[in-house]
Symmetry: C2
Subunit: 350 residues, 2 copies
């Protein structure tokens, strides 16, 4: 038999951040698709939509009126999954029925007053303002002794459950550390204890040397399709310098963060020439007062599309009951993304 070739043969890959495995089936990308097609949303949106509850000056569901904001705008989510005043309490029946009350806060961040924009169509200086809001919110929320973890994220596109196309993200901040960052805490601490360097410092060094999975680099940041990527065009944005959270970034690093987010999301839009759906979010050290020296702040992008604007990857049966599975290899995805223009397709065709 031939030698094992990860570009051709089914294999498992290990995610050192979560400690879990995924199944990769490179040979399977030729499978015909007769299933569900995604809708592609109308591309032309007005700069202002009088019915949008996020546009400046409009009234929200709870009667509050948005200010005539010109940059970003942050407010408490009117339908937050987490609320501050929750009576403490718990359930424990035989160790099998266990519950604990949970408190926290939900915030909404409008990225721009313009209803028709998204990150890749915004100026770098405007994205930098979004980064500044993330820094400020992480700092302020994290300073609250009842908040031990701050999850900043964006759901973009109908395919990712976004109920409003106005450019915005969310923050869910809470008393306990959720499952995914808790796994990353354990894994990063173990690696740091063994090597005295952060897991992502060493990982980025390998990727920068190999280059095969690198999508973008600037002075301060590297974007890769991680070796263990689950979603077809999943990426990981990592600062070169080992910092635990975004409050530690220098001004130049924050500029570079804004720059690389713009570069990356432009490539995403250019991939299938649509406004590319994804969920993305920052993973940073818990705000529980501990140092978490091993933590290396990073950002995950999880986009669902697989082959075109209308054919997505379904994480269903086997994935839910076994573990995630992917068809195209991370190396193939990185090459595709790298080959795309840095000019947004809408600009290019004007």
């Amino acid at each position: 038999m031939a030698e094992f070739d990860s570009a051709e043969h089914p294999h498992r890959r290990y995610n050192p951040l979560s400690g879990e495995w995924i199944l990769v089936s490179p040979h399977r990308s030729k499978r015909p698709w007769q299933g569900q097609q995604e809708k592609t949303a109308a591309e032309q949106r007005p700069t202002y939509d009088p019915t949008c509850y996020l546009c400046p000056g409009n009234t929200r569901a709870n009667g509050a009126v948005n200010p005539a904001y010109e940059g970003t705008f942050v407010f408490d989510n009117d339908f937050a999954a987490l609320v501050a005043d929750v009576p403490a309490g718990s359930v424990n029946i035989g160790g099998l029925l266990r519950a604990e009350s949970e408190s926290g806060v939900g915030r909404v961040i409008c990225f721009s007053p313009r209803h028709d924009l998204t990150l890749p169509e915004m100026e770098t200086t405007d994205i930098r303002r979004v980064v500044d809001v993330w820094v400020e919110e992480y700092r302020t929320l994290g300073a609250n002794p009842d908040i031990n973890y701050v999850q900043i994220f964006e759901n973009k596109g109908q395919a990712m459950g976004a109920s409003n196309p106005h450019p915005h993200g969310q923050i869910w901040a809470q008393r306990t550390v959720p499952v995914e960052p808790a796994k990353e805490t354990v894994q990063q601490a173990a690696y740091f204890a063994e090597h005295g360097r952060s897991l992502l410092t060493d990982y980025v060094a390998i990727e920068v040397k190999e280059q095969t999975r690198v999508v973008l680099e600037n002075e301060s940041f590297v974007v890769v399709v991680p070796y263990w990527a689950v979603w077809p065009y999943e990426t990981l944005v990592v600062p070169r310098r080992h910092v635990q959270d975004i409050t530690q970034l220098t001004a130049a690093e924050k500029d570079d963060f804004a720059d690389i987010l713009r570069q990356l999301t432009i490539r995403y839009d250019n991939l299938f020439e649509i406004s590319f759906p994804y969920s993305a979010g920052l993973h940073q050290r818990p705000t529980d007062g501990q140092a978490h020296e091993s933590w290396h702040f990073h950002m995950h992008f999880y986009p669902p599309l697989l082959r075109s604007a209308t054919v997505r990857k379904f994480m269903v049966g086997y994935e839910m009951l076994g573990n995630p599975q992917r068809d195209v290899t991370p190396e193939f995805a990185a090459e595709r993304l790298r080959s795309l223009s840095g000019v947004h397709y809408k600009q290019a065709t004007q």
Copy 2:
């Protein structure tokens, strides 16, 4: 402040099978929905579709011709994610880039020759034939020394990535134990070592006593919306008797399994009066030759719909980056399902 009430206040619940937590936000179910609506597929299908690659007598993509089968029909998946002949090999760069070749087999099981049926519209005796195929496949595949885990599942409906509405399920069987059953192996072994009884024996005893989350019961099986359910109408089907896998079920128990699957899927279809989408699958002991005495065979149903035939729960941003979150409580979902008729809505309106 009032006392903690899990029907009202945000809280976390623990899943003893996986060892992970989920966030429950009961107060959030009033949230308005302006996002993506699911398509509802045309309900009328012909009993035979000449273009369907699963119907009897038709030719598949690879040129093979299906027999004129009258009950079930099982064959090797033409586009399997797992294949038998994979060269052994692995990658390990600094413990951070790790891969291992993986071998296995993919099988497709047609539940019925009738293109227009699904489990809830089949006779119990015909569902029993599907159960018999699961038993036989688990036994045969599991006997192969290169197969250490057999995942039997069904993706039903376009929303769950099913590319063909012909009633069918799949099997992915492989050398290693996937992540989810591996977690359940650890958790069940720990419980068994401590208590000398299976985790699910004790869990079902509590649920049968409390009744609030019980959806259905017969002589041999209990169906609950588990205390830690992630999906709005998720259910867990558990045999009362502690058996490690389906080959150990008696003939009467297999009849009861078929019966309760029919009862459950009829309630699912009746919930929103559509052919209810879900991914479902069996979790059984690994076929690695070890006894796994602690393992208690069960079946998970993961349906995506939340509020109606067209509004689903999105497991996106927070869920991908933090942990799963649900709005309606498992108790509410169980009550809804329990209240539904045991007669399929299509039969009822005839």
